[in-house]
Symmetry: C2
């Protein structure tokens, strides 16, 4: 386990051919589902992708998904908005789930990157059609995972100009 | 440091009177700013709150903020939408920042909870007025921090019915 997975996390877009084991995949999914959500509503679904044909299809509908070519597994986080107890919060809930998976990836020694889908309608429609998702399910974000094929050091992004005390 | 801060994180709403030290606050802010964002746009600002009068004011405009009464410090995550490079993604960026702070809190032995503000207009307006935020700044979420005054164990939230393989 890393000392500081939150600060060490970087977007990793190159992976070795090594597989991601089922036990690590399970931990990633546990991390996603451990996220907080409004009223603990947990409006999420997780589509695990290992099929090469589907990965290739996604590369055609998502402009920044070239890393799928080398990637052993990806997880598409989706929302079922009918599960919302507090309307308007599902994007926050699903974002917390994605971020949890990214941090767990660091802890497992894996690389990962957050690929945005929602609210870009072409990507939402493209993914929904390709994966035959129900009409009421929103594909939210795609996260490819793999053993890192590039080394990226932690980056200090602290910016004091963005911090305010007791008001603006 | 905890072994598994992502899975150990719970919403903690009771705090002891012990202060949160400046060095821990700094780590929380670093964690927020280490979050991924669309095109690395980092559209966030962080308002640190220690003033009791402001805390009391927030309890009047936010219906679920009673824990501020015992809380030594809170951070309001805000967005400046004019910093977006990729329109439509700022909620995801700021959510990742909030989640990072929650996980860092676990690592520091602190308790915290995500209080939603955006998109509930009364809360957005109430916070903006109280803290004299500029009109174009959106108060997004408030995170109180303190030394835990309640013990909450990790909860297994894994739900196999939310996992799908290579399609729906």
């Amino acid at each position: 386990m890393r000392d500081d997975p939150v600060l060490e996390r970087r977007s990793v877009r190159r992976y070795t051919p090594q597989n991601v084991e089922e036990k690590d995949l399970r931990k990633l999914l546990e991390a996603g589902m451990a996220a907080p959500s409004a009223g603990n509503e947990r409006p999420w679904h997780f589509v695990v992708l290992r099929d090469r044909g589907l990965m290739n299809g996604i590369m055609e509908v998502h402009p920044y998904a070239r890393m799928l070519e080398q990637c052993p597994v990806a997880v598409l986080v989706c929302c079922d908005p009918s599960l919302e107890k507090y309307p308007g919060f599902w994007v926050q809930d699903c974002s917390a789930a994605v971020e949890n998976m990214l941090i767990m990836a660091v802890q497992l020694g894996l690389g990962a990157v957050w690929l945005g889908i929602h609210p870009i309608e072409e990507r939402v429609e493209g993914l929904r059609r390709l994966l035959e998702l129900p009409e009421d399910i929103v594909p939210f974000a795609l996260v490819p995972f793999g053993h890192p094929g590039e080394e990226k050091r932690a980056q200090d992004r602290y910016d004091p100009s963005r911090v305010h005390m007791d008001g603006w």
